[in-house]
Point group: C2
Chain length 411, copies 2
């Protein structure tokens, strides 16, 4: 059995982790021994009592114990979020539930809070009981660190600690301005394989100093998830653990519609940034692919066409091979069965026209198209010309790297 | 740009093409120069005037010109079927229609039949106009061959001529017995990539000496397609050209229910045989995978769960890596969103128990499971334990070979 080597970093890896502005969240991360490599694998966020939480979670019929636990306590105001990597605590049933009960009780005692104010997320191998004692034994050190904030880069540590096959840590921030007052949004995420709507196999934790009612927070999170985390796909596989949490710490009230709009836009920027970082770190990714569908009758129709293209192994292998095989794009549009009219379809790749209302017009641009396929970023524009709705999906190419990561080495 | 090398044959390639019993069909195949390699690429079947035809075709919104042509003439009794490989004549619009008109008219003149009794199928590259003159120029030789049957292996030639990325020719036969009288069913098929329900990206042409009314023939073909050609997937991509045709030559009437049942069973055997040959020749296939779902509430529920597993890149790469990663099977069951109850799921792999009603029971069998993953055939049994319906899907593993075929060489 071959040993799993370190993965080469994605060509899209950012050079540095973003600088995270001050925000009233206790952050700590350490190694509890759940990852065989000894890397960071346990993260704690502690939150002020004024915090409200919103969450969007996997739609899988086989959700993890952590997902079920969170669903049972939502929308209780959160005081802590505990995240482990290395084990998904999924398909573990009574053992999984018992582990969560023991861990949240132990953490509640240490922090003098209620267990039902502690949210959890787990990512890693499915079907193996969680080594709960490893986690419980680490809580003292974790809580100490969260209180004292003695790490120079606690957010980067946290972003590393939630990683699985990710090749880089993912963080994003944005500010919003409100008549001279400004506020902050901060987020981290993980995800690389098992990435599909709904949702991407991913975890994301987003924090803001804003104050919003829980129901409004939930609405904003859900709306923006549709066009960010639910618009990316790496391999069309949906995980048991997907979790996006948004915590509003309650310090800066958003009082009128224009305040909320400014916040909403900044929130979407953070979510979009994190989603792009996930898809650019897709397992084996060498190309970043944008699929924009316009001229649809409804957004759902546009989304189904866009995702059919973004999920097609034949489209994604063609792009890996730098081949402008637009016949495969036609195939993928057709298989979506969205009642489109093929004679109206126009296609461009990186703005080079390929097909215009059903006619192949790529011949004069053949050299330019061949050249543009060698770019690291490929944008496919599809105009269905039957309406005014649109949707954009993002994916990566399908390479030998994906097969290597998922087939060449045993789990 | 690298030149496309000859593909290595699938490890499941049969040693010989089956011996085809005599049946009243004129068969001929030759090279019309549509495949760059100069291999056989044009096939003609001629049929007696008593023939009835049934067909099942792609559900794509972008069907090829040949599919649209066939749909426009069905169920006119067929006198000929003309098939070309090397060009799908899809997304070609007026040019594609014009090509079919010119070709069928030329062939009709030569055979002294109506153009509307000539069915067509095309497979190959999408979006490129069909070189119709190459085909028209070959019709004389093709008709001569069909009449004189001077090839020693006309069926094997035909099965070769319809191939694209297939690594072997696919043929099957069966006989049915009716109170001492016996009849024959003969079929050929192609398909290797762009294989998904509905339908597999495939062509299949099946002939029988039986006599059946057209509506009954259509019903039987549709019923058996559900559990054969529509139960296989290689890459979840659906083509623009999928076509299964069933021709009953009308020589041997099937008069009562037991006669029809015997015929129906033999027909299913041929369709199943051809479907298995397609999936075993899936692009890059090294493993043949059977996914059997039992204990479902409905056949549709069982089918959706089975196909979610059979289409999952993560399940298929795990099997390529000979890794009994049953967590990915759980993931794939969950993502199907069929309202199953995860605590009831039982899983075996090649009859080795992995999970029983939600508990992991694989530990004592770990060595045996590890060993069985090295077998070329892997059968995954899922018991949902919530009903009595079932469905079986077939697929192959997802290997570097698939990426090589679809990404390493330009089309």
């Amino acid at each position: 059995m071959k040993k799993k080597p370190a993965l080469p970093p994605s060509p899209f890896a950012p050079r540095t982790f973003p600088t995270i502005p001050p925000i009233d969240v206790g952050v700590s991360a350490l190694s509890a021994g759940l990852k065989k490599s000894g890397a960071l694998d346990l993260t704690l966020f502690t939150l002020p009592p004024t915090t409200q939480i919103a969450a969007v979670m996997t739609t899988s019929d086989c959700p993890s114990a952590a997902v079920q636990w969170c669903q049972s306590i939502l929308p209780t105001p959160p005081r802590a979020i505990l995240i482990n990597a290395g084990n998904a605590n999924a398909f573990t049933f009574e053992k999984g539930k018992h582990a969560i009960k023991a861990i949240t009780q132990a953490l509640a005692n240490k922090l003098a809070i209620e267990p039902s104010s502690i949210y959890m997320a787990s990512t890693g191998v499915i079907g193996v009981p969680l080594a709960e004692q490893h986690i419980i034994d680490s809580l003292d050190a974790l809580c100490h660190q969260a209180t004292h904030q003695d790490s120079p880069h606690p957010w980067a540590d946290a972003a590393h600690a939630i990683m699985t096959t990710d090749t880089y840590a993912k963080g994003a921030t944005a500010t919003y301005s409100l008549d001279g007052q400004s506020g902050t949004i901060v987020g981290i995420a993980k995800g690389s394989g098992m990435i599909a709507p709904n949702m991407a196999t991913m975890l994301a934790f987003i924090f803001t100093d804003a104050a919003l009612p829980q129901d409004q927070l939930q609405r904003l999170l859900k709306t923006h998830t549709e066009t960010t985390f639910n618009a990316i796909t790496v391999d069309s596989d949906t995980s048991t653990s997907d979790t996006v949490m948004l915590c509003a710490l309650g310090h800066k009230p958003l009082t009128n519609k224009s305040h909320i709009d400014a916040f909403s836009q900044a929130l979407r920027n953070v979510m979009h940034d994190l989603a792009m970082q996930i898809v650019k770190d897709g397992e084996g990714a060498q190309k970043f692919i944008t699929v924009r569908v316009t001229g649809a009758q409804t957004q759902t129709q546009a989304k189904n066409v866009a995702l059919s293209i973004a999920e097609s192994p034949l489209v994604k292998t063609a792009i890996a091979g730098e081949d402008a095989n637009w016949g495969r794009i036609i195939m993928a549009i057709g298989k979506a069965r969205q009642g489109i009219q093929q004679e109206k379809i126009s296609i461009t790749i990186n703005n080079h026209p390929i097909s215009k209302q059903g006619r192949f017009v790529g011949e004069p641009h053949e050299h330019a198209i061949e050249k543009t396929m060698r770019e690291p970023a490929i944008t496919i524009d599809i105009d269905l010309d039957i309406g005014n709705a649109q949707f954009t999906a993002w994916t990566c190419d399908f390479t030998h790297g994906y097969i290597s990561i998922n087939a060449d080495y045993r789990s």
